[in-house]
Assembly symmetry: C2
Homo-oligomer: 241 residues x 2
């Protein structure tokens, strides 16, 4: 499967990166950005289904998605999983290692993906030197927390249909923010992943997508989805966003 997100085939430094506006160093002065860039470690691409990091691994870095997408999840001791989020380009992963230096979740690539690695030791040091980076750091942490809160809101008080609609709208919004179509995109995750993320079963996901398709609100073929009636989706949610 080819990725819908593959606009950066060559290695670039931060100041050339088209993600810079949504990434951590947003708002830094030119010389600061240059300094920031020296810290960034590049890694070989992560293939589909490969782990970026595993729960309980030592966590010494943050990671930013450069291309591709990831799925973050927690495993219970019995092997049951809960997907806590999907990560698209420009989004950060690995905050959960801040507490004890070990990841409390795992991250796995949904397709061939590239990341920028930010070693925490250097990031901390740089935050002291560059106040606006410190501010920006707290800002993305706040964003992460707010995003988690929204997920709690979604899981706690929404019907399966509302959850599905919210999921699609949010994905649309995020793709749009990255400069892609907000009405047509490829789902990089399996039905099962969506189901797990929303706290429902894959059968229910399948049924709901079929239903939305039959109502003409979306058109879906395998992983390709087209939103025909954005408003109808919003009506389903009514007031969540």
């Amino acid at each position: 499967m080819t990725s819908t997100i593959d606009y950066d085939p060559y290695e670039t430094l931060c100041h050339d990166c088209r993600l810079v506006e949504s990434c951590l160093p947003y708002g830094l002065a030119k010389n600061e950005l240059k300094q920031f860039a020296t810290m960034v470690k590049s890694k070989p691409p992560i293939l589909s289904d490969q782990y970026l990091y595993r729960q309980d691994d030592e966590g010494r870095s943050l990671y930013v998605v450069k291309t591709g997408s990831f799925r973050g999840f927690i495993s219970s001791t019995d092997g049951a999983e809960q997907t806590i989020g999907f990560y698209l380009p420009g989004e950060l992963m690995g905050f959960d290692a801040f507490q004890h230096g070990r990841f409390t979740s795992s991250s796995i690539a949904l397709e061939t993906s590239k990341v920028c690695e930010l070693p925490l030791s250097q990031l901390n040091e740089l935050c002291r030197l560059i106040p606006s980076l410190q501010t920006q750091m707290l800002r993305v942490l706040g964003k992460e927390i707010e995003s988690d809160h929204n997920q709690i809101l979604l899981l706690g008080h929404r019907s399966a249909k509302e959850k599905m609609a919210i999921f699609l709208l949010k994905l649309s919004h995020r793709y749009n923010a990255l400069g892609f179509s907000k009405t047509e995109f490829n789902l990089t995750m399996k039905r099962q992943d969506i189901a797990n993320f929303l706290g429902i079963t894959n059968e229910t996901v399948s049924r709901l997508l079929t239903e939305l398709h039959q109502q003409g609100i979306i058109a879906i073929n395998r992983r390709n989805i087209k939103i025909n009636n954005m408003n109808a989706l919003k009506v389903l949610v009514e007031d969540c966003y």
Copy 2:
């Protein structure tokens, strides 16, 4: 109703505070702690049902619970609420204002409570001066994120009974960490609050508590709860923790 948590009737500085080991400045050297303490603003006690802060308010401070307890929640545009957490002494509130300088959740006192206020501007400055404070800051942020992830796990994949058991076990654990009994304590929140937090209805909460009572696993009278059989509760959860 009298609080179960009322061991600090007099104003104290950080170095005298019995919460210091679980609070933000944990691990700071004596002189650093002194410096930290000068930043702490004391506030008049918050009475029951009073807001500490409201969603969309400007957020320029973090707050630490000194005595009492709070309920944090998000409101949708239609007025529906989702409780995102309960806060006991030593726990921090207000991280969600990091993103845009405004709270994305509200916090309300469940009983007469006291908080320490930490102005963000000074906290940021101090983090630059005291590296171990910076580390500690990231640690509590990591803890907050992990806690949110656990809540997502709970809401996504647990039956009502499991949710209830997890809620009680977690509360027991937190009270114990504060030096209180882990088998007997008062619930400072209403059934409705618990229900909302767990994503179920208050009727279900009531039924489950009654059921656990009849099975002899707990003894509950209004807000007072006694856990008679901790193991039985853990068996209900099996593998979550």
